[in-house]
């Protein structure tokens, strides 16, 4: 069965610090990978997605993620965080066969002004 692991459950950063959130998945076949963000009290919104091609994916609001197939990883990065990035971040995988989306447990990011 597929699974997704997010290593950091809570992260606290100061504004302008760099961010990297880890995500590893377990599935040997072709996968689609996603990062979603949930701002306080809101629904999940897509940050970025990887289907194929360039393993470095750029998303909205200055976020990017790198797919490393050999490590089964899809880590999220941002060079300089802002207070408005305070949110919960979810990594997700979809294998395309069953069309299910499997989510990690999430990482709560708090950015201090």
């Amino acid at each position: 069965a597929q699974s997704v692991s997010q290593h950091n459950h809570h992260v606290i950063l100061s504004e302008a610090a760099s961010l990297e959130l880890g995500c590893n998945y377990s599935y040997g076949g072709t996968v689609n990978l996603f990062w979603y963000v949930q701002y306080p009290g809101q629904h999940l919104q897509l940050l970025l997605k990887y289907f194929s091609g360039d393993p470095l994916v750029k998303g909205i609001k200055g976020f990017e993620a790198e797919f490393i197939k050999s490590k089964f990883s899809f880590n999220l990065r941002k060079p300089s965080v802002q207070w408005s990035d305070t949110a919960e971040y979810f990594c997700a995988v979809n294998d395309g066969r069953t069309y299910k989306y499997i989510f990690g447990t999430g990482t709560r990011l708090k950015v201090l002004a």
Binding site: N32, H43, L44, L46, F90, Y99, K100, Y101, F103, G104
Partner: protein, 114 residues
């Protein structure tokens, strides 16, 4: 935002009562999903649908049933609510465009079972 409406947005119910949550979409998307979100567990799939009258179980389906009698509506029913079903429930939809597409989420329903 995708045209997804969840109702009700908030509900408090008593243990043992039946509860139905509704997800309505205006996108004519084929796939619909129900997830629950709990602290420390992320989002877990309850049930999903791949077409009218076609549904399948997710990883936490016990105690839940679903129905999809038309494309736009996907209902989640708790036959006899328990306190462990207190959660935030999210509906998601996805178009049938092969593999390369993402899911879009509704605003969520906060359910409290007392």
């Amino acid at each position: 935002d995708a045209g997804i409406t969840q109702s009700p947005r908030h509900k408090v119910t008593e243990t043992g009562t039946p509860v139905t949550l509704r997800c309505h979409q205006t996108e004519n998307h084929r796939y619909m999903y129900w997830y629950r979100q709990d602290p420390g567990h992320g989002l877990r799939l309850i049930h999903y649908s791949y077409g009218v009258k076609d549904t399948d179980k997710g990883e936490v389906s016990d105690g839940y049933s679903v129905s999809r009698s038309k494309t736009e509506d996907f209902l989640l029913t708790l036959e006899s609510a328990t306190s462990s079903q207190t959660s935030v429930y999210f509906c998601a939809i996805r178009d049938f465009l092969g593999m390369n597409t993402e899911a879009f989420f509704g605003q969520g329903t906060r359910l409290t079972v007392v």
